[in-house]
Each structure stands twice: as structure tokens, then as C-alpha cells.
Symmetry: C2
Amino acid sequence: MLIRVEDFGVVPDSPEDATLAVYRAIKQCRGIERPTLVFPKGTYRFKPEKAFEKQLFITNHDQRGLHKIAFPLVGMDDLTIDGQGSEFVFYGSIIPFLIENSRNVRLRNMTIDWERPMFEQGEFVRATPESFDIRLSGPRYELNGNRLTVEYDGREEAIWGIHEVDPETGAHAYGSGDRLSWSSFKKLTLEEVGKGIIRFSGKPRHVPKPGSGALMRLGRREHPGIFLKDSSDCRIEDVTVHHAPGMGLVAQRCADISLRGFNVMRRPGAGRWVTATADAVHFTYCRGRIELEHCLFENQLDDPLNVHGIYARIAERLSDDTLLVQLIHDMQVGVEIADPGDDVRFVDNESLLAYAEATVTSVEKMNARYTVISFDRPLPDMVKVGNVLENATWSPDLTIRHCTFRSNRARGLLITTPGKVLVEHNVISAPGAGIKISGDANSWYESGAVRDVVIRNNTFLDCNYCYPDWGNAVIDIDPEIEHPERFSICYHRNIRIEHNEFHTFDSGIVSGHSVDGFVFRHNRIRRSGSFPPNADRIYAIELAASRNADISDNVAEGGSFMALVGTDILNGLKKAKTV
Amino acid sequence: MLIRVEDFGVVPDSPEDATLAVYRAIKQCRGIERPTLVFPKGTYRFKPEKAFEKQLFITNHDQRGLHKIAFPLVGMDDLTIDGQGSEFVFYGSIIPFLIENSRNVRLRNMTIDWERPMFEQGEFVRATPESFDIRLSGPRYELNGNRLTVEYDGREEAIWGIHEVDPETGAHAYGSGDRLSWSSFKKLTLEEVGKGIIRFSGKPRHVPKPGSGALMRLGRREHPGIFLKDSSDCRIEDVTVHHAPGMGLVAQRCADISLRGFNVMRRPGAGRWVTATADAVHFTYCRGRIELEHCLFENQLDDPLNVHGIYARIAERLSDDTLLVQLIHDMQVGVEIADPGDDVRFVDNESLLAYAEATVTSVEKMNARYTVISFDRPLPDMVKVGNVLENATWSPDLTIRHCTFRSNRARGLLITTPGKVLVEHNVISAPGAGIKISGDANSWYESGAVRDVVIRNNTFLDCNYCYPDWGNAVIDIDPEIEHPERFSICYHRNIRIEHNEFHTFDSGIVSGHSVDGFVFRHNRIRRSGSFPPNADRIYAIELAASRNADISDNVAEGGSFMALVGTDILNGLKKAKTV
């Protein structure tokens, strides 16, 4: 049944805040069978003041606490929202879409953008190894000591990082990385040397080129454009996020999510270098199938995609069958670790190897950081404080097909899931690794040893040109195990890389360790010459502490390439293979 | 049935954090008939790290968002917690007791205190009209420009106000008021003139005496010691709060609350000048009976008691029978305004007079500030944006008996409730008004025109010695109506003041306006001579825009006293009466 927003007083292209009227239209959709909420094509504005508010923990974002939400789709089944090509424009701290405890929700035909995006653009007008000058584009800024602030959403926000980018594409400059952000930024001394011109002195770690774009970062990861939580069977189709002060889309404990023609894309004609200020899409503790088809993710300030679980730290053994479990990373706190009935693996935090399993019988979330979990059996003595557990029930299959990833900061696809992974017919370009398969229980606590990854028929374009900031090679397999050669079992398994094209200026194609079952066949390597190579590297493929590799039938333009694969490379047992 | 905390691993007098083990004991109380949770007499420590966490809006406090709670008594009926004389010591940001959606909960025989209270003590060592010096008592402070910070709960907190107090009693100095806090404090220039000695320059609004105590304020109203919400029939008995970083006890939308031997009291021997850093007890939108007997409230940094409702502002008329309603005051946001079935009065924000009524049929809380409310009938046109509404269903009767109130900052009892109020056999001393009966729809938005107040057999000791900061007279009746004489109906009704003793240095006993039915009989006024009188005042009683006053049979030591009562005093129609 169709619900028309205009029946609730919503007027297309009005400068008024549509939030409250749209909320009342959404409310009307409850209790109707298969409702479709339809917007006449137009521009609609959404402000936080009168928006629905809810306490949410959003994985991999900074802001906890209460969030304002324009479209709070909570406990809604079989709902479709069709924008019919409308533009939804948001102001300040408001989440466009929350899909929570819902089933079969579809979003279609709309764009999401912000009136005032959360970054600043300027121009590098002078640079030496000692200092550089940036001409700011906006008239409103303040410099107090080394604190440069601009107005954002009615408050003063400090710039805390700078990137050198191509003023046309917004792509990061060769070798620039994060070398003018965070702690490196803090070491710089700021001075106003002219109206709207700021000098940054103190031997910057990267010397930008005059004429390049000076992209300035501010704020934190406030919230995503679309947040799916505890929902299933949802589809986002022909939806474009031009900006989000955080990620484009986050799914947390969701099942069966399909993104088709979901784009995180620059707004045409706006001259902006940035789309989302963090990842394009991020999936934490999902299951079922995650599918992306015909998506374009460009110019985010972090990776286009990350799929992972969470390793939770064992903080106390409360009894034989009950643990106090702790989320360590500040950006993971509040995420539900498990439900009764879930299967859990206990993992050694040094080897990352699982050594026991149990089924959850009860869960008591004390607070964002601590949860008491009881299990169906007495836990072996090995289960000790400092080890971690991983929810084995929540790991999705992943298909990424016919997508384009380009011009963002950091890496390409981050894949850590034991599910079936297929990455095919994509075009992947990133200043870091094009694909990264990691896993760690000591820093980000992102879990998910892979079991079955197929990467085929993709084109990789000049990846990893900010080496070594964001990767070792085009494909980087680097679970954080300090001494992988000491363990007889590998962390990752069955990674097949076939029929891909690598256009690259660099030698390094694959770098990794702790893989059992590695296939690299029928790939073609083309030399782009776009940049100087990253380092003196002989081998296109370097795999340490790995087993069962098949590297064959590849074609390397301009001559042969070498692969180095060993079960125990670090201790000198090497097996070099020239293809 | 008895539940013993020691069965859950809780050890008396242990330095360990008891929070998690006590939580598990509380959990055990669920599903047991009339459980009593018993602590062996001892000292128990509660830290926030592993405490239960919940989103709460707490009336008249600063901190919204997530709160850690040591005793989360949510949905618990017929529970008793007996400390058997134990001391509960809290650390940092944690609410000791939350009683929510519960019935018949009793707390008995315990003290509540903090390891590190939220204020600082020093000594005035020098003072001129230009500047004064304070010797800090702690070794850990930092002065950065005009920002003086001390460590509190692992963070640096800035001092933002100073009070001159008697170093023995902690009582405020004559004429000191808030004249060294907030904006007045900000005007002072700070300088370190010796190790641990800070000079505050810039013509302070109050010149303290060397040798007096320098009480320094820091932090905000984080949370109360005990928070009751949506609960009924609860009793707090023989419980003492030595400190809370906020109020001693807050009840919000509760019915039938009894406090017997509930004290907010200095810790003997600790040498502290402050107990709670805000009110001792505060009741917002309660109903049924509120009873206080044999309570001692001393040395809080705000009033001992405040009972009131809330005026919510009409923000939009969404339809004939539906309003968007707004909470204005930052410390009231998030409080539920009404439930379906509640009766509501519509009130003119200038006259404060109610002009229409309706019954609530549905409530949709959009966010902390805005709520959509529908009513059972079309609302008259008079109901317009800017007017306010008041929930008529939620107003309690109040009995305060055999209590002592002393040495706090600000006023004594703040009473704004249409219920039956009885204040008898108390000893009341405050640097502001001893009793204040107000109501306003433009600043604090505290509602509740009184209908039946009896104040009898109390002793008032030297109130209002910081005049005019916190009151006009010992009893101050000052609804915030700009032109009360213009309205034929009075805001307050039936205030009887009988058989009280007023020990006072000052002439002013009662000041007020807009009262219909005022009785002041059989009271005795004694001259204390403790301080110089506040102002040249002839009349002991000044009542403007009031009707039906009976002032008779009072005894004034040292001669007669004068009363001035008029329906239209401000326009010159006066009726002076000498008793």
C-alpha cells in the first residue's frame, strides 16, 4: 500500500524542516501490510531539532550516546521507501536512516547529502622541507596558538589533519599518506602569514606540491548515512550518499543485506574532494549473505569496505562456565557480543588460533564495555584472562561484483570473515593495499580468519602508492601474529586469486603470512609506470609461514616475476619460485 | 526471604570493587518473594568500570546520556536492602541507587559517601577590596591563565566558583551569596603568588575575611545519590548521604515516597564543608504522598528540598487536538511530560493562570526536548504557541515533620505543588528564604500553584542572611508574574502560617504576591541580633496583589510589627495593618 508524504504536509523543494512530518508518515506505515512510503521527486531538508532520538552504539564510530534520526525505521517489516530520485539534505548531527529490528526494508531512488560537509578545502600555495602555506577557501576561521578552527554545525571545530590531494579528482598524492595528520599534525607550528593564509612549520613529514589541494580534516566519526542494526533481508538500491560525517553505511549484527547501485559518490559539480569521512560501508558481526553489485565508492576518508567480527577479551573467569568479557577498542564498545544460542570460539591472543568452543546460554550486558556470558559447558582451564573469544555464529558470506573503488584514503577492501567470499569484476584502486585480509586480537580486535576467498576477474589500478602507510602490496594478507612461523596451523585458509589484471607501477602484488591454501593463477600484470616503485623488491609475491601455494600461469608484462613462499621464511627456510 | 551478599563473593571491608558481585546478588533477588538483600556491617566499595549502565534523564542535573549504576533496582517489587549500618563508598561517575519502575522498595541502615568528593577546600589568607588570596589545601593543582584546575576522578576539573564559609560549620558568610561564582568568578584574574597560594584580583563582588574557609566549586550536577523514577511506595529509612556529586535524592514521576531518618549530613570527623553539591532532595512530577520525617539536611550546595511540576511550552499546534510540546530548561529535558489518561491544564505564560483542560490520549516523545501529545477534545483557539501546559495528575501531597535544615547554600524548602502541604515541627535555617513558594513559566518552568499549605510549629533560625541573593524574606511567595495586580485571580491559595517561632536579625518575615487566603497567626518573632538587618524595611509582612489575609495574634519581641497587604499595592491601593 502506498503512503504519500504529501498527505502529511511534506512539501517538495520546501526550505522547511520535513523531519516531524516525515516521522508522522513513517508512523502511519506501521500496521499496514507491505507499505511503500513515496516522496514526489524533489529536495527535502532534515534538521535534528525535532527529530526522533535514540541511544545507539555504532560500531567504528566515535559518538556514543543519544542520536537524532530522520528516518527511524525501528521494528518495521516489509517497508519500502522510494525517493523517486529525491535529494535528502541533512543538517548537523542527525542520522538519515536507522533500520533496527526490522525485516525486508528497502530504500530506493534517493540521494543523501549534508548542507555543510565535515571537512575543509584549501590550496597549498608554498612548500619547502621546513614549512608549507595553505590558502583557506572559507572566510570564517580562527587561529589561536596552534589551534586552527572553523565553524561546523554551530560550533568551532579544530582542524587535526591535512591531506595533499589532486584538486581535480581528490585522490591522495603519491607518498602522502597520513603524514600530515594526528600526531604529525600536532608537531607543526601554525602562523597566519596573510589574510586566509596559514603557515605550517616544523619539518613536515610530507612536503606537498604548491597547487595541490589541501584537504583538512575536522570533527570525529559522528555517525553513518545509513545504520542497519539487528535487521535482516534489507536492500538498498539506487541510493547515493554524497556525504556523511562518518561512514556511508554501517550494518551491525544484520543478516542478508543487499546493496545494488548503492554509491558513495562525489556530488557532481560541487567541487568537493570528500564523500564520507570514514569507510563507505562497514559490516560488523553480520551473517547470511552480504552482496554488493554495481556500487561506486569514491573519495571517502577511509576504506571502501570492511567486513569483520570482533574479538572480545576475557576479563575475568567468574565461575566454571561464566566469563566477564570486555570490548577493548573504543570504537567497538556497546556492540552486542553474543545472544543465547550463539556458538563461540576461544582464541589464543598470540597465535590467533582457536582452541575451544562453547554455546552461549545467557548474556548480561553490564555496560558498553563489559558483558557477563554463561556457556553450556564448563570451560577448559586454557580459557584464561587475556585470551579472546569470537562469535562463530555471526560471520557472513560476501559477494562484491561489478563495483568500482577509487580515490579514497587508506585501503581498498578489508575482508575478515570465515564465510564464502567472492570478489569479481570490480575495478579497485586505493593508495594503500587494494585488498587487505587481516585479523588481530591486540589492536583493532577485528576477527574473522578467512576460509574461502575467491578474487577473480578484477582490475587493480595503481594501488598502494602511499606505501608503506596503508599496505605492503596490492593484496596484503597480514593477520597480526608476531611469530606466525612458530605455529603449525595457519590463520587464514584458501585464498584464490585468478584472472585478475594488475596495472601497477610497483613490484609488490601479494604480501602475506599464515595462509594455508593460496592460489595465484591466470593473472596478468601490466606495468603502468605511473609512479616510482615503492621499494627494492624482487618478489611480486611474498608469503611467509604459509602452506600449499599454487602460483602458476600468470603473465607479467615486461618480463617474469618472482614469488617467495615458505612455511618458515623468517627462519631462513625459503622456497623461491619464478613464474 | 534473605539474600546474603557474602554468598556472592562480597567481602566486608575489602578494598576490592564490590559492584559486579553485588549486581549478581541483586539479580538473584528477582523472582523471589519479598527479598531482603543483607550486607554484613562493613565498608563496601563501588567503582564504575564494571557497573550496569543505562540511559537516564535526571531532572535538575547536568549530565544526560549513559549512567553507571551500582544498585540498578529496575522493575523490582517488594525488595528491601538492609546495610545493617554499612558504609558504601563510591568512586567517580556512578549512581549509587536507581529505583526505577519498582514498587515497595526499601533502603535501610547505610551510608553513602564518595572517596573523592566534588569540591575543594582552602583558606582565605588575605583580602582587600581589590583582591584576595586563597591557600589551597591540596598539592595537586594547575593554573593556566585564569583557569585553575584540580584533579577529580582522573580528569582535570576547573574551579568555577568560590564561597566564603565558616571553617567550623561550613555555613556561608553573611552577605556572601553567589558573588564569587559563575560570571562574577569569570571576571577575576588569577595569579600564583606563592606555593599553593592563588591571588584573585579585580574588585570581587564580595570581600571575604582572612581566616574564613574558601570553598571552591568544580564539576557539574553529575547525578544524585539515590534516583527514584516511575516508582511507587518506596521508603528510605536510616540512610545517610555524606556526599553526592549532585543531589542527595531525586524522585521523578514517583508516587508515595517516604523518607524517615534520611540524612544528607557531613561525615563526622572528615572536616568537609559540603555534603551534596546540589539539593538534598528534589521531587519532580510526583504524586500521592511525599513524607519526610526526622531528616537532617545540612551543608548542601543548593536547597534542602524542592517539590514541583514542569510547565512545558507549546511549540506547534499540529492539528485541532494535537500539540508539539517543548521542554525549555536544559535541566528538565528528557523528563516525561505526560502519559495517556493524564489530565492537563493549559496556562497563560504571563498570568500563569489556567484557562482550559483536557485529557491526554497519546504521547510520542520525539527526543529529550520535544513531545507530540494528542488530547481527547479539540483544543480552544486560546491554546497557542508560547503558552504552557501543566500535568494536573502528577502533583503530590507533602508532609515535612521533625526535620532540620541548616548550613546549606541558597534557600530552604521550595514548595510548588497543588497538593496538601504540611510543614511542622521543623528547624529551618538558610542563608536565603527559609521557605519559598514560587512557580514560573519563563525561566525555570517549575509549576504547581499551591492550594493548601500549612506551616506550623516550626522554628526559623536566622534565615536570609545573604539577602538579596536568595530571597526577600524568611518566607518568600514569589510566583513569577510580571503584573500580578492586573489579574483578578490569585496564583497561590490558602497558605497558613501558625505557631511558628522566627528567630531573626531582620525585619522581613513574609514577602509575597498573588495569594488568595493568607493566614499568619499565633507566631512569635524573636530578635537574634546575629547580623545587621538586610534593608530599611518597616513591614514584617508585605503581600501584594493578594486577598483574604488574616494576620492576628502574633507576638513580636521588642515591640510591634507591621504588615502590608493589598490587592493592588503596586497601583497604590494599600491596606496597612499593625499587629
